[in-house]
Point group: C2
Chain length 222, copies 2
Amino acid sequence: MARVRVEGFTLSLDGYGAGPGQDLAHPLGEGGTELHQWLLPTRTFQRALFGNEGGTTGVDDDFAARGFRNVGAWILGRNMFGPVRGPWPDESWKGWWGDSPPYHVPVFVLTHHARPDLAMAGGTTFHFVTGGIHEALARAREAAAGKDVRIGGGPATIRQYLREGLVDELHLAIAPVLLGRGEALFEGLDLRALGYACVASVASDKATHVVLRRQARPQGGD
Amino acid sequence: MARVRVEGFTLSLDGYGAGPGQDLAHPLGEGGTELHQWLLPTRTFQRALFGNEGGTTGVDDDFAARGFRNVGAWILGRNMFGPVRGPWPDESWKGWWGDSPPYHVPVFVLTHHARPDLAMAGGTTFHFVTGGIHEALARAREAAAGKDVRIGGGPATIRQYLREGLVDELHLAIAPVLLGRGEALFEGLDLRALGYACVASVASDKATHVVLRRQARPQGGD
């Protein structure tokens, strides 16, 4: 059955998924670039984002690559799509990624403010969903046509889906960086009680990669 | 100069330093044994706690061993010393560790309730400090006579010393385990603003070991 996945979500040692102070110059927030040192030089990222040949291979690239495999649709929180807040002033903002975004499938953007679908080059269409996370997931599942749905972030979006037990698997990369503040992924969220367990842990010199999977039934204590 | 160190402090993936439900049968709280799988089989731990020969060597043991080097005194929160809460009913509780605790130096226990010094076999003396963290540190520094002071925990004690900028270096072991709830080490504590940075990161198959060090002056953003 098609799964709902979080992939390549990077956390600081102190548990923050994005730095504070996100704006146009800092789409990942302050410190966000440090956080993603495992990802930025990989062959997968260089090819997907910039069309570059080359890039690093190995553990980090393996995890970057798996994040794109068998993905039929994405869900993004509004802040992942851009820095614009409140009602859309116009339709000029088309995402962080230029004319040909790296998705190449339908992307469902959670927002409180309706906006027409936005078809981009390369097969990416942004759909703006005002009906909440369940509606976005239903539409993404349908659009994915049997492939998986990837939830891109940010932390608030991932937390909403986790809280409802709607995420089947998460790949997290823990970077050897302190951010000090930002959006805490785990705060107030009891993943153990929600049925998640760590099923894999592999380290590179730039991050520790862990895979959390929702088990058939919640675990007890020890 | 003598330093103040936290060593071998183990965190779950979701940032908890000890499981909930600590009691006599679960000195580390529920799930706490899972958390310490990197430490329990090491040669250092087996020798220090049980007097056993043998045990594992390698990255995990290297970090376990460094935690005991050049330590002239320890500071423990009351819950690290035992499960007794409130005024001491009598002097029968002598710690989790039997007649010969693994410290072999003076140990300063933070408590609100005075109690006479307690000399144990093997060189460990427990001193009960009612004057707070600064008094405990001053007394530990003096007792350490030029060696370092190790702060053993728990999380609340470490957080108090971190918040005051009194810890020079922390070794954390991040275990591939979800606890779901417990005492969150980092919550509400901006280690970056307090001047800490990650200076080393080394993984074994059971934990990712990181060393955080307080820099001469706080870092800015990126």
